[in-house]
């Protein structure tokens, strides 16, 4: 155990910090759940890519820096510390790319990854369906082979940022007689194909953060299949594992929120200290964010030594989502009567983005597998309790 960064790691941190200081957008970007904001964020992805900062863990030859997990954590720490923009292409870079790199053909990698890294293709995911939310294996959307194409019919929903995204990756049932996890195939397609209809879904803050996607005889080349026909579930699970795992919710994000919460509390102690629960929650927030960080460094060390991510994916999901709620609920309590004001309210004072963060935190225990599902997984797979 050696809890010091190497020279190389410190140099990398310094490089990231310097680049961000020089290149951070002068003013905060508009929300990427708006059309203009989406374009701003796409441009930012391009700028990151010019410095090879958009996908640092990818192999050099694919546009990355072949960073190991420690370097990735360092990058994330600097990125969040700088309050840099949210990653509009995170579904592509953090969810699809690792799967593409593992299962994709050389042609597919060459075709998709560079444009993804540059933000030329923004990716949305097509997992959930109206009848298949927590129960992903209940997928019914069909893909029928017709020569060198699949003909796709059905519906996906809760597809994040699909309103303005360019491409979709998802699971479709290629074997009409198959049940549950069998007979599913992992398919990639542009969202501008004939027969695709996208219906935006307004989220709590009124912005169309996700969408329903309808498929009516949509023809997709077989070449857009990833992995074997019928092997989609295993391919997807690799992605789902990553989604719930390390990549998508790096500790730095929560450390930055915890730091901002401490600052907010310090500015408002005169009122906040009238409720002792607030100070206790502020201290817990720092401790939990620190614990999540330490746990992630430990996981990174274990992975470096050849271990595999197991139930950590589920314990992480529960821990960060409940921490995120705690921090934002506490910020709302500190802001008191001003907490309800929209960020652009003229007399809002120092409320910052807490309200929007609070709304988003509500989704944490729900998406990427509800926390109830995660607890089942922990109980059954990690603790070995019997299935119901």
């Amino acid at each position: 155990m050696r809890l010091e960064y190497t020279e190389k790691q410190n140099k990398f941190r310094a490089e990231v910090r310097a680049w961000l200081e020089a290149n951070m957008p002068k003013k905060a970007l508009t929300s990427f759940d708006t059309e203009e904001g989406f374009a701003e964020h796409r441009a930012w992805e391009g700028k990151l890519n010019e410095a090879r900062f958009s996908a640092v863990t990818w192999p050099k030859e694919l546009g990355g820096r072949s960073c190991d997990l420690i370097e990735w954590l360092i990058f994330e720490e600097e990125y969040w510390r700088a309050n840099a923009p949210l990653r509009v292409n995170q579904n592509g870079i953090f969810l699809l790319a690792p799967t593409l790199i593992e299962y994709g053909t050389p042609e597919q990698k060459a075709r998709f990854l560079p444009r993804m890294a540059a933000g030329q293709d923004i990716w949305a995911q097509g997992w959930s369906e109206p009848g298949a939310g927590s129960d992903m294996a209940a997928i019914r959307s069909k893909a029928v082979k017709d020569g060198d194409h699949y003909v796709i019919n059905g519906q996906k929903t809760w597809s994040t940022r699909a309103v303005w995204a360019d491409w979709l990756f998802g699971l479709f049932r290629t074997d009409p007689d198959s049940q549950r996890h069998h007979g599913l195939t992992f398919i990639l397609m542009p969202l501008n194909l004939p027969g695709i209809t996208i219906r935006p879904i307004k989220q709590l803050n009124g912005l169309p953060g996700f969408a329903e996607i309808f498929f009516d005889d949509v023809r997709v080349p077989v070449a857009n299949r990833m992995g074997d026909e019928g092997a989609g579930w295993n391919v997807a699970m690799a992605t789902a594992g990553f989604e719930r795992g390390l990549m998508l919710r790096s500790p730095a994000r929560f450390q930055q929120t915890a730091k901002q919460l401490v600052d907010l509390y310090q500015r408002h102690r005169d009122t906040a200290d009238r409720d002792p629960a607030i100070r206790d929650a502020v201290l817990k927030s720092w401790m939990y964010a620190e614990a999540y960080t330490l746990s992630t460094y430990r996981t990174a060390g274990r992975l470096a030594k050849g271990a595999k991510i197991g139930a950590e994916a589920s314990t992480n999901k529960i821990f960060w989502s409940e921490l995120d709620l705690l921090m934002h609920e506490t910020a709302m309590a500190i802001l008191g009567a001003r907490a309800e004001l929209m960020a652009h309210a003229p007399d809002a004072g120092d409320i910052g983005q807490w309200l929007d963060g609070f709304l988003f935190a509500q989704a944490g225990p729900i998406y990427a597998g509800t926390n109830e599902i995660q607890r089942n997984i922990i109980a059954e797979r990690m603790l070995g309790l019997p299935r119901a």
């Binding site: 927590s134 307004k202 709302m332 004001l341 003229p346 509500q362 989704a363």
Partner: protein, 350 residues
């Protein structure tokens, strides 16, 4: 010793509930949210027909002269149906203020009849709130200034709107100049008056939070009973059942606290302020838990604008911090509990 409402109070509550169930469907709320001013003359007229605007107006001014105990039951219904109207500020708070003025005070004769009829909207401003709700869409503003009471015409103020996440709330920063002409009460009389206003606003909000909690619980239960996953209703899963049961327990034990606060205000109990703050904390805890658990049970659906739940969650989040946030009310409870006052068995009704 009788901790129950009388038949007539419950009958009135039931009538209001039936009325709102028909007249205040979620679709109507959405329509009003979308309007410029956020208020509906039509809805206001119907509320007036039910006697709600006249509820605590003295009979001589066309009212029905009811008190805090009648209001508390009505407020629970206003919360349950998330009624977007300045009824509480106008019919409860402004009327309370006017009722404290000398019997012959001109403001009473001028405004109480218009309030009773439903025609007048009055906004009430106190620095405990950074904004004044409905300041724009009102005929009169009753404002705090150095503990004094001032009556101000909207035309004599500058208003800047501050949008809330709860679109049914229309909040304004009010800039105005106090003068002898606007002063209604001096600081000495005003201090007691404003204390009474804060407590009644607190009672009204407690009751609305309770109604909101019950509504969010009902929405969660309905969704859980209908939504299927893994081949059965998610409401048959123990985790979902226990989420909803936890909310039911909070609501069950918050309601009597709110009702006791109403009784204490009605009887001018010396501890009324403590009981109101206790009610705020208990009802707020129930409402915040109901919001969290109900959205969890709704799943992704609960995170959408389309699901009705969002209107009730946002109302609950906003109301919980108005007319005194949790830190304000917890401090008032603490001051009592740690004051050395007699606590424990037998002291509850002393």
């Amino acid at each position: 010793m009788d901790f129950t409402f009388d038949e007539q109070q419950l009958a009135f509550r039931d009538a209001i509930r039936k009325f709102l169930m028909v007249e205040a469907a979620p679709e109507m709320l959405r329509d009003i949210w979308e309007t410029q001013i956020g208020r509906s003359a039509e809805l206001r007229a119907k509320l007036a027909d039910q006697g709600l605007t006249a509820l605590s107006v003295p009979e001589e001014f066309g009212g029905i002269a009811q008190g805090d105990l009648d209001w508390v039951l009505v407020q629970q219904e206003l919360g349950y149906f998330a009624i977007p109207d300045s009824l509480t500020a106008t019919g409860y708070l402004a009327v309370y203020i006017l009722n404290q003025l000398p019997a012959n005070h001109a403001l009473r004769g001028e405004w109480l009849p218009k309030i009773a009829s439903g025609e007048a909207r009055i906004a009430v401003g106190h620095p405990i709130n950074p904004m004044v709700a409905d300041a724009k869409n009102s005929n009169l503003l009753l404002l705090w200034h150095d503990d004094e009471l001032h009556a101000v015409k909207p035309a004599d103020t500058q208003l800047s709107q501050n949008p809330s996440i709860d679109q049914s709330r229309r909040l304004y920063k009010v800039t105005w100049t106090p003068s002898a002409a606007t002063r209604v009460l001096g600081a000495d009389a005003g201090r007691a008056l404003w204390a009474g206003v804060i407590d009644r606003a607190g009672l009204a909000i407690s009751a609305q939070l309770l109604g909101l909690a019950q509504r969010m619980l009902d929405l969660g239960v309905d969704h859980a009973a209908q939504r299927k996953q893994f081949g059965k209703p998610i409401g048959s899963f123990q985790a979902v059942k226990h989420h909803m049961a936890d909310v039911a327990v909070k609501v069950e034990f918050a309601e009597p606290v709110v009702h006791r606060a109403a009784a204490a205000l009605a009887e001018n109990d010396a501890k009324a302020s403590v009981y109101v703050s206790h009610a705020r904390l208990a009802a707020g805890e129930a409402a915040l838990l109901a919001a969290r658990k109900s959205i969890q049970v709704h799943g992704a659906m609960g995170y959408t604008w389309e699901a009705d739940l969002q209107m009730f969650m946002k109302r609950a989040w906003a109301l919980d911090a108005t007319w005194g946030d949790r830190t304000f009310h917890k401090a008032r409870v603490e001051a009592h509990v740690l004051s050395g006052a007699a606590l424990g068995p037998g002291e509850t009704f002393n």
